[in-house]
Amino acid sequence: MTSSYHTCPYNDLPDRAFFKKVGERNGDLSIVPDERVSLGPDDKVVSAGSCFAARIANFIRSSGLTYLFDDDRVVSDNDLVREESDAIFSLRYGNIYTTRHLLQLLQRVVGEEIIEPPVVVDGAGRYRNLSRPSVLSYDSVETLRSDDTAHIENIKTFIERATVFTFTLGLTEQWIDKESGITFPSAPGCGFGEYDESKHVFHNSTVEEVTAELRESIDLLQRINPELSIILTLSPVPLVATYTSVSAVEATFYSKSILRQAISNVLSDSSDTMASVTYFPSYEIIMNPYCIKENFAADMRTISEMGVDRVMDHFRRRFVRGGIDEPAISIDFAVDSPLVEQEPGPPSGVDPVCEEENIWNAYLNKKEAD
């Protein structure tokens, strides 16, 4: 039996379609300018989401683009409203890890559902809003509520003013207040409040739930500002811990898979609503096996500077308009460094174990013929 390669449908695909070719490009995914969303000097960007969103905010600021920011405190008096952690997003909503959290926040912004977040007292006798417990502390419940009302108003104003909203999805695991249904950014009893089995319930969202919550969140954002463009990203930062019965590593991959699938579900909607919504593959850039080690710091949770730089370089080429397309550039180390191992030559025949390798073999065969 002879094998035939010349009709393989992969033969004429660009390099980026082949895993091994991507590997030669020093972590570059051959990203092309986005057709739905672009950023220029007149754009105003608001970001929210998991910790990784803060790194994107840094890039926006340093790229000559306008990143909206407000102190977002009803008063800046430290006795009344104390800053407990640095402000890292456009407004002081703190980390928004889940789509449910985002949705509930936006529902409050449009006045759709008025649920006041639970309040707890910390060790210093100050009041904390469990929807953003690490961000601010208050001298009284009244100040907290007044600040919360102003915060919700500020979110509305910023969404109205913004031209681009970036949201970084982080987790599916969450803890929910049984009575109100409010979801918390962290588990009660882990720093703030007390865990009470009768009041709090663990929930790991399904892909259907995340899809619905994300879709509804986008609807609400565009109801507030119909001209708003939305960039969705997925945080590559692994879970700190899981409350499920599997390992944190398994739970991380489960969580990220659900979120990634939900994003695809939402983007597959061909309605006008989604015409200005896009996905940026920060997760894939970091998790690319060819450079995953250098993309993480030694703790294998924190994204390294090189990893962040790599993401931001892709982000710039994907979204920042002006000038002309610039490729990423890699150097063939083999040219200069005899210490670098050479890649083994391509297999000469069909791999009986890995059928998928046939695609690669066909590509090589085609290249040789050319």
């Binding site: 490009r25 803060a54 407000d70 402000a87 002309i324 150097i331």
Partner: protein, 515 residues
């Protein structure tokens, strides 16, 4: 025997055989004490599409950049390496990292070969030729622009040398006959598109056809050489033009060393508070007596021209005719008494604590610039039009009014970070101080309408604990250093510098924590 010391700078020239004209060439600017020498990398047969095939840098170019210390062997800019041995070896030269000038002289071979591929019908098909050229040029300029960004280089693309005007010679060299007028037109088209795409990409472009080409677009008889190349004497004119481009565009010059410096200073990786709020509310920092002392210390006010540019600081153009800067703003220097007072007020006093809190680290005022704006009725241009400064990381700005500033009398004006539409004008009495992040907000010095405004403008560098909190005034027209790890200091420095240089070896080779 008279021996003059001059400050040398290299112009790296990469290209096909046309680049060879630059070999062993130097030019000097005696008035500025500068000399420029070409360092050529000739890569036989180099063409636009062989610079970066499939995203991989041409091995000859890569090797050249590595050998010259412009990039490290892992493909990163040398300025970003964290290898203390490499860094120590670099700084042992006594020179800071500089933005390297690289000129690409590529493309003529492509055009010549392209002509040979055209069918008789295609010879007059302008649309096809333009379309083909656009595709090649877009890739060429995109690749060069990508190298500029990836490696932190100052790149310049050289215009193609026109074809020989001699039909017989052209035919003999290229084995094709191609009418003189038509080949001139084709080369002109390529060069016009090259100029268009470099402008779009913000890449510098070195023209040469204004004197190299005759009226048909072929090589001027004065520069005929061997049927392919121009007489090598042309390279001196090109070098002068590249130098002029460089000297005129250094106002925001900086190297990637700021990135590693910033990582050293900003351990949280979060934006400084001042970057979030953009501009502080004005506060009175000095009293009337101190204002008088500061005013008395201001001297040498003159238009925004750099008369003594150097390699280790960004600077204004050394040419009073440069059109961007109108004759309505003067810069000067400030004497030792003023610097000592500023150190007392802005560094050791409560204002200093506020600055440290807002930028998240210690700081040095690396350049104080007295600035006088004279009244006029025109629209603001240059510093008086809304802009952002493209400051490198770790650089912040401050302003201290030395006169009362009322509305429309030269107040600092900015667009707030909360996205609201109305600009805010900072008015205040003499002695009012603000700190701002010139990258975070659109801002300008609004034109004063009836009164002269005098203020001190500050370039502030966030620094790690090991560095000194100095106050320094550089020569007029000087802006910020290109490398925060090492730069020259002048006499106007408080505390006075013993070495005339800003350099802390421990920052180059950080000590490891004790076990």
């Amino acid at each position: 025997m008279n021996i003059h010391t001059v400050s040398p700078k290299t112009i790296h020239v990469i290209g096909d055989s046309h680049a060879l004209a630059f070999k062993h060439k130097s030019i000097s600017l005696p008035d500025l004490g500068m000399i420029f020498s070409a360092n050529v990398s000739y890569i036989r047969g180099l063409q636009p599409d062989t610079i970066l095939p499939n995203g991989k840098l041409n091995s000859g170019i890569a090797q050249f950049l590595i050998n010259e210390g412009l990039i490290s062997s892992d493909g990163r800019p040398a300025a970003l390496t964290n290898d203390p041995a490499i860094l120590s070896e670099h700084y042992a030269t006594g020179e800071c990292f500089q933005t390297e000038l690289v000129v690409f002289n590529v493309g003529e071979i492509y055009v010549r070969k392209y002509l040979g591929t055209l069918s008789a019908d295609d010879l007059s098909n302008d649309d096809k030729i333009e379309s083909d050229f656009r595709s090649v040029i877009e890739t060429y300029v995109g690749n060069i622009s990508g190298m500029r960004r990836a490696f932190g280089l100052r790149v310049c693309i050289h215009e193609l040398t026109p074809p020989t005007a001699d039909d017989e010679v052209f035919k003999s060299v290229n084995k094709i006959a191609f009418p003189r007028k038509r080949r001139g037109e084709v080369y002109k088209l390529f060069n016009a598109l090259l100029a268009q795409y470099t402008a779009k990409a913000g890449v510098n472009f070195c023209h040469s056809n204004d004197y190299l080409a005759d009226e048909t677009g072929c090589l001027n008889a004065d520069y005929e050489f061997d049927g392919v190349h121009a007489d090598p004497k042309y390279s001196l004119i090109s070098m002068a033009r590249v130098v002029k481009i460089w000297l005129y565009s250094r106002t925001s010059d900086s190297t990637l060393r700021y990135n590693t410096w910033n990582a050293l200073v900003n351990k949280s990786k979060l934006p400084a508070k001042i970057s979030q709020i953009g501009v502080t509310e004005p506060v009175l920092a000095v009293d009337d007596a101190q204002i008088k002392r500061l005013r008395n210390a201001v001297r040498d006010l003159d238009y925004f021209i750099c008369t003594r540019p150097n390699h280790d600081w960004g600077h204004a153009p050394p040419d009073k005719d440069f059109p961007k800067f109108k004759d309505v703003i003067k810069y000067g220097s400030i004497g030792p008494d003023g610097l000592e007072l500023l150190h007392e007020v802005l560094v050791t006093g409560s204002i200093g604590d506020s600055i440290r809190s807002l930028i998240g680290s210690k700081f040095a005022i690396i350049n104080v610039r007295p600035v006088e704006s004279t009244p006029h009725d025109g629209d603001g241009v240059g510093q008086q039009a809304f802009h952002r400064d493209n400051c490198p990381p770790s650089i912040f700005r401050g302003l201290l009014y030395l006169v009362d500033v009322e509305g429309n009398e030269g107040g600092f004006e900015y667009k707030p970070v909360d996205g609201s539409d109305d600009p805010v004008q900072v008015v205040g009495k003499a002695g009012s101080w603000i700190l701002f992040d010139a990258n975070a907000v659109d801002h300008r010095a609004s034109p004063p309408r009836t009164k002269t405004r005098l203020a001190l403008d500050f370039i502030i560098l966030a620094i790690p604990d090991e560095a000194d909190e100095i106050v320094h005034c550089a020569d007029r027209g000087i802006i910020w250093p290109v490398d925060p790890y090492m730069f020259s200091l002048g006499d106007l420095c408080y505390p006075p510098s013993k070495t005339g240089k800003w350099f802390f070896p421990s920052l180059i080779s950080p000590k490891k924590d004790a076990p």
